[in-house]
């Protein structure tokens, strides 16, 4: 979205324009959903996070002093909701995730239209990435997904994660190492 249009939508939404807020939801909902999905590993929780994020955004919108910062600000809100969800989950769970529950939670649909063998291979490799992501500590996972799947720059990741660029780089380096080590046997 062009920045001028973004600032207009955010400004008007700050003044109570519901139609403009809805357009912001339309434009950013999928991004938030995909981030949440890769953070928590299942659609249901990810949808809850989307809802919580935008409800929070509406409540806090007037506090956003720089409308052009809306996307990064929104990522920050959703990162916080993801963290909350993961903390709630680990507070409820036993020591480690039940293997079966883990499978259920990270199962991803195979790409439609692909031939059966490719789909099986696709599904298996999708599970591999999803499993590996779930094995990363949440803060590393956040930095990695924002960088490699959402395409954010280091400064925006730092804003979203509530930390410094230096810390982000460190987390990304550790995440890459862990994920690369998990690429065993994929030659």
């Amino acid at each position: 979205m062009e920045e001028t249009e973004l600032v207009t939508l955010v400004s008007r939404a700050q003044d109570g324009d519901l139609a403009c807020f809805e357009r912001l939801v339309e434009r950013f909902e999928d991004r938030v959903f995909r981030l949440a999905y890769r953070m928590v590993g299942n659609r249901h929780d990810a949808e809850d996070i989307v809802q919580e994020t935008f409800v929070g955004a509406w409540e806090k919108l007037e506090g956003l002093r720089h409308p052009e910062a809306f996307p990064t600000w929104l990522y920050r809100l959703s990162a916080n909701r993801c963290r909350d969800a993961l903390r709630r989950r680990s507070a409820c769970a036993a020591d480690s995730m039940d293997g079966e529950l883990m499978d259920e939670m990270i199962a991803l649909p195979a790409p439609p239209g692909a031939d059966p063998e490719r789909r099986a291979e696709g599904a298996a490799s999708m599970d591999a990435l999803a499993r590996l992501l779930q094995s990363l500590p949440a803060e590393q996972r956040l930095c990695w997904v924002l960088r490699e799947m959402q395409g954010l720059g280091y400064r925006d990741i730092a804003e979203a994660a509530g930390t410094s660029e230096t810390v982000v780089r460190g987390r990304l380096a550790r995440a890459r190492r862990t994920l690369a080590q998990g690429m065993e046997g994929w030659r």
Binding site: E22, S125, M126, R176
Partner: protein, 184 residues
């Protein structure tokens, strides 16, 4: 691989990651650690791209947006109350939000103009108790718009007219602030 970001040969994983598309340099060609890292990171990158393509199809169910908008609709902050009529023992106020909505409507109807934020303040009450309002509104202009003095005056009149007819308020000042220009 070492515990930190470095491979056994001293190269960083990050440097391997960011040079995956390039041909391996002389060191990388001869280094077993780098070759291994490249193969693994290539695979990681491929998986990531496939995941991204899959995720591009991910979208929320309609209920999510509905619930978000239901919340927004039922939680509109009314903002400041602007007194528009004062008389001994009573006053009438209108929310800044309601006034801003009317200002936006008037400005949006003006050729080449889109409203952004609006602030409202009350001046000194007139003898009849009516409070003349000051309006400041941020605007975005289309690059091709005519926004010369005549157009500006017409916009001010449009705003004042709508506020008077719709909300019964008197408008003393309409302060126009052009914030940006669009080419779309």
């Amino acid at each position: 691989m070492n515990d930190d970001d470095r491979l056994e040969c001293g190269r960083t994983i990050d440097s391997v990651w960011s040079s995956l598309d390039a041909e391996p340099d002389e060191h990388q060609r001869g280094c077993a650690f780098c070759r291994e890292a490249r193969a693994r990171l290539r695979r990681l990158r491929d998986l990531t791209r496939e995941a991204e393509a899959d995720d591009a199809r991910l979208t929320t169910r309609p209920g999510v947006r509905r619930r978000i908008m239901d919340f927004a609709r039922t939680h509109v902050r009314r903002g400041e109350q602007i007194p528009v009529q004062v008389s001994p023992g009573s006053s009438v106020g209108i929310s800044e939000r309601a006034i801003a909505a009317a200002v936006r409507e008037a400005a949006d109807a003006h050729p080449g103009v889109t409203a952004r934020r609006c602030t409202v303040w009350g001046g000194e009450p007139s003898p009849d108790g009516s409070v003349p309002l000051g309006i400041r509104v941020g605007l975005v202009l289309r690059a091709t718009a005519d926004f010369g003095p005549l157009s500006q005056r017409r916009l001010r009149e449009r705003v004042a007219r709508l506020l008077t007819s719709r909300l019964g308020v008197a408008v003393a000042t309409v302060d126009l602030r052009v914030e940006d220009v669009t080419h779309g």
